[in-house]
């Protein structure tokens, strides 16, 4: 190519950049785990986002376009931080969205403070992440939303001696801390805890530790997805429940899409969560109908899909309100006022913490018509993240 050709190419690229900007395209960086040990959760999140985009792009103001620039973080924090940096400096995105893994979110968060680009979290539940940067807002949940009440509920069942087994990374540590707090505050006594590698495939040695400790109740936490089925299989093979040990968890152990794989063995497990496909609410009915039309019975949504759906809804509202012209600070101000009628029930963003306020359901899994389902047995209304109330900012 001649020098003239190169120059012409550069000029036309620059011109294209300018004309794109004037047509008011909102660029959003979407960070997801397309590969790695959290790829299934990533797929759930992707489907929730795509469904919302497909149904609601027509609602955008005329002349305003939304472009999602998608990147794979491979569930590794160093990769996530790199792609986030590239999205900010290279793609000049106005917002960052997504993120399955808490370590990735924790690595990305400091960048958002430096660049003043908001990060809208649609899964990562590590409780302290929103404290790292004032530009982080979360639409999913924290582990304290779900693990704390299940601790108290366990004692209420008459199970006084507890054991905890969790994946050895941020959300696992949070879940363990929350369960132990809820359990011991209600009068329970912990016999011990064990942590296993987040991406392990062999749970038998850790499950054996539970069995050997002979507690009344075992709190088990794994990231939602195939790990849930794998650890339940180990629990079954080692006869933990037959030995009189009750298993409790957060919604991550019985995510809706894994229920058909888990089957009858998963019945009778107590979990706390923010969403079940069984929830009877108009918003959920409408969501499930749209989901089934799009994915034709080949996929089942879970709480991660719903969080992505809700976050997309809030982001689209922001774009509608501002015609796509907003700074990071304006976006954060808007998110603090968000109130939505979500498939999981009414949700809002707590302006003080930028974390979500939502209903938390206590569920018991059971077999119904040959299918494993989560049935809500109790609802706690408008729950704020308990950890932030127990640990006020210094």
């Amino acid at each position: 190519m001649t020098l003239k050709g190169v120059l012409f190419g550069l000029v036309s690229v620059a011109a294209a950049g300018i004309s794109q900007a004037s047509a008011q395209t909102v660029k959003i960086g979407w960070i997801n785990s397309y590969s790695g040990f959290l790829a299934q959760a990533g797929d759930q999140m992707e489907k929730g986002l795509n469904l919302y985009i497909k149904l609601h792009t027509k609602d955008l103001p005329p002349g305003v376009k939304v472009e999602f620039v998608r990147r794979d973080d491979t569930a590794a924090p160093e990769v996530g931080k790199r792609v986030a940096q590239e999205l900010i400096t290279r793609e000049r995105v106005q917002l960052l969205m997504g993120i399955v893994a808490s370590p990735v979110a924790a690595a990305v968060a400091p960048l958002t403070a430096e660049a003043k680009v908001p990060l809208v979290i649609t899964n990562a539940g590590g409780v302290a992440i929103t404290r790292i940067s004032p530009y982080v807002v979360r639409f999913s949940f924290t582990q304290w939303h779900t693990a704390l009440p299940i601790g108290a509920w366990s004692v209420k069942q008459g199970w006084k001696r507890g054991f905890s087994a969790v994946a050895d990374f941020i959300p696992g540590h949070d879940a363990e801390g929350a369960f132990v707090k809820g359990f011991t505050d209600a009068g329970g006594q912990m016999l011990g805890t064990v942590r296993f590698p987040p991406a392990t495939a062999d749970y038998a040695p850790f499950v054996q530790r539970i069995k050997d400790a002979k507690p009344d109740v075992a709190f088990v936490w794994v990231p939602a997805g195939p790990a849930a089925t794998a650890i339940l299989k180990a629990i079954k093979d080692l006869g933990v429940r037959e030995a009189g040990i009750n298993v409790v968890s957060t919604h991550d152990l019985l995510p809706d899409e894994e229920l058909p794989n888990i089957g009858a063995f998963g019945a009778g497990i107590l979990t706390a969560g923010n969403y079940s496909t069984m929830g009877v609410r108009p918003a959920n009915q409408a969501f499930l109908k749209a989901w089934d039309e799009e994915y034709k019975g080949k996929a089942i949504p879970n709480f991660t899909s719903v969080a992505a759906w809700d976050a997309a809804s809030a982001v689209f509202d922001l774009i509608k309100k501002t015609n796509g012209k907003f700074t990071g600070d304006e976006a954060m101000k808007y998110f603090a006022t968000v109130k939505l009628d979500s498939p999981r029930g009414p949700i809002a963003i707590d302006p003080a913490t930028r974390d979500i306020i939502q209903d938390i359901y206590i569920r018991r899994s059971e077999m119904k018509d040959g299918k494993l389902i989560n049935t809500d047995i109790d609802t706690m209304k408008a729950v704020k993240d308990p950890w932030k109330e127990l640990n006020p900012p210094k």
Binding site: P77, V83, P103
Partner: protein, 334 residues
């Protein structure tokens, strides 16, 4: 008869001349540095990636020293990269954010690990050696994973704070400082590595690779020389790890895993082994391709990477260097 004799003599004289001039700098050797500086101006939005490429070149260059020159086949070179990264990272996370000294300490720590582990694993050869290098890296990985209090475990090392270089150049988000920092460090390390391979010590390494029995026979201290180059290489790998840690201001377990050792090997093979410049070709090729694939197809980019690797293995024997040499009809230099 006479004529034949003199041609032979001429050829030999030419060989000797070439041999004795091999250490001299050739114009072509300026090419990577010119390209690196040009890239700064042409791709201002890609400097963060550029800095990572430069640091990875240093890592792969260090692997070339042991694999390409001394013939030590290792699948655990990430061990030294990781030690350097975690050392520099933990210093910065615990209140010592000065980059240059942090980098040096990282290099020294990696060299120490290289010396100690090398003293044990280099007693073996072949597959046993391969497995032992793998085990060293795996043990360090588990150590970093379990030492959650110091390393952050699977969550990664949070809270690194880097001070400006020489108190002046702040690490910016766009990677301007990081790019030049990596470039200067890579240049200095390359100069050192080049000196080493062209020294008589470096020549003896080639001898060890080609015919270890003969080197023993002529009385060369084979074990000591292998250990020395292994330690030197570990130091360079540690500096490369330190560079990545400081410029991204984050360290995750990924710096120590098998994938990183394997990728370094692949990038070196793509470029060309034992040429000192294989890293300068293989690393940019691989990392830019990876960046493009991940951008075009974020969900299935691993597939495209795999497909290209199959293509390279089948069609590009001897790496890019090998192909170029075959095209220009030059014999393989020893």
């Amino acid at each position: 008869m006479m004529q034949e004799h003199s041609t032979e003599r001429l050829v030999r004289a030419a060989h000797i001349a070439e041999f004795s001039a091999r250490h001299r700098l050739r114009w072509l050797e300026a090419l990577p540095w010119v390209a690196a500086i040009a890239a700064y101006f042409v791709f201002p939005n890609y400097l963060a990636l550029g800095a990572q490429i430069l640091a990875t070149i240093l890592f792969v260059l260090s692997l070339d020293l042991v694999l390409g020159y001394a013939g030590i086949v290792t699948l655990g070179h990430a061990a030294f990269f990781g030690v350097g990264a975690y050392t520099a990272g933990m210093l910065a996370a615990n209140g010592w954010g000065e980059p240059v000294s942090g980098l040096l300490v990282g290099g020294v720590a990696a060299a120490a690990v290289g010396l100690v582990s090398g003293a044990i694993v280099l007693r073996t050869s072949g597959l046993t050696l391969l497995m032992q290098t793998l085990v060293v890296a795996a043990m360090l990985y588990e150590l970093a994973n379990k030492a959650h209090r110091f390393t952050g475990g699977a969550d990664g090392l949070q809270g690194m704070e880097m001070w400006p270089i020489f108190g002046t150049f702040r690490f910016d988000m766009f990677g301007n400082t990081a790019y030049f920092y990596c470039l200067v460090v890579l240049f200095l390390c390359w100069a050192a590595a080049r000196n080493v391979v062209h020294s008589s010590f470096g020549r003896s390494l080639t001898g060890i690779r080609e015919n270890v029995g003969r080197m023993h026979a002529i009385g060369a201290p084979v074990a000591r020389r292998k250990l020395l180059i292994y330690t030197f290489s570990a130091a360079l790998a540690g500096i490369a790890g330190g560079l990545i840690a400081q410029t991204t201001q984050f360290v995750g377990l990924g710096v120590l895993n098998l994938e990183r050792s394997g990728m370094a090997l692949i990038m070196l093979i793509i470029g060309g082994v034992g040429q000192l410049y294989g890293a300068f070709i293989g690393v940019p090729l691989y990392m830019i391709a990876q960046d493009r694939f991940a951008e075009v197809d974020p969900a299935y980019w691993y597939f495209w990477i795999g497909l290209s690797l199959v293509f390279i293995v089948v069609f590009l024997r001897g790496g890019v260097f090998g192909v170029v040499e075959r095209l220009f009809g030059r014999g393989k230099s020893p």
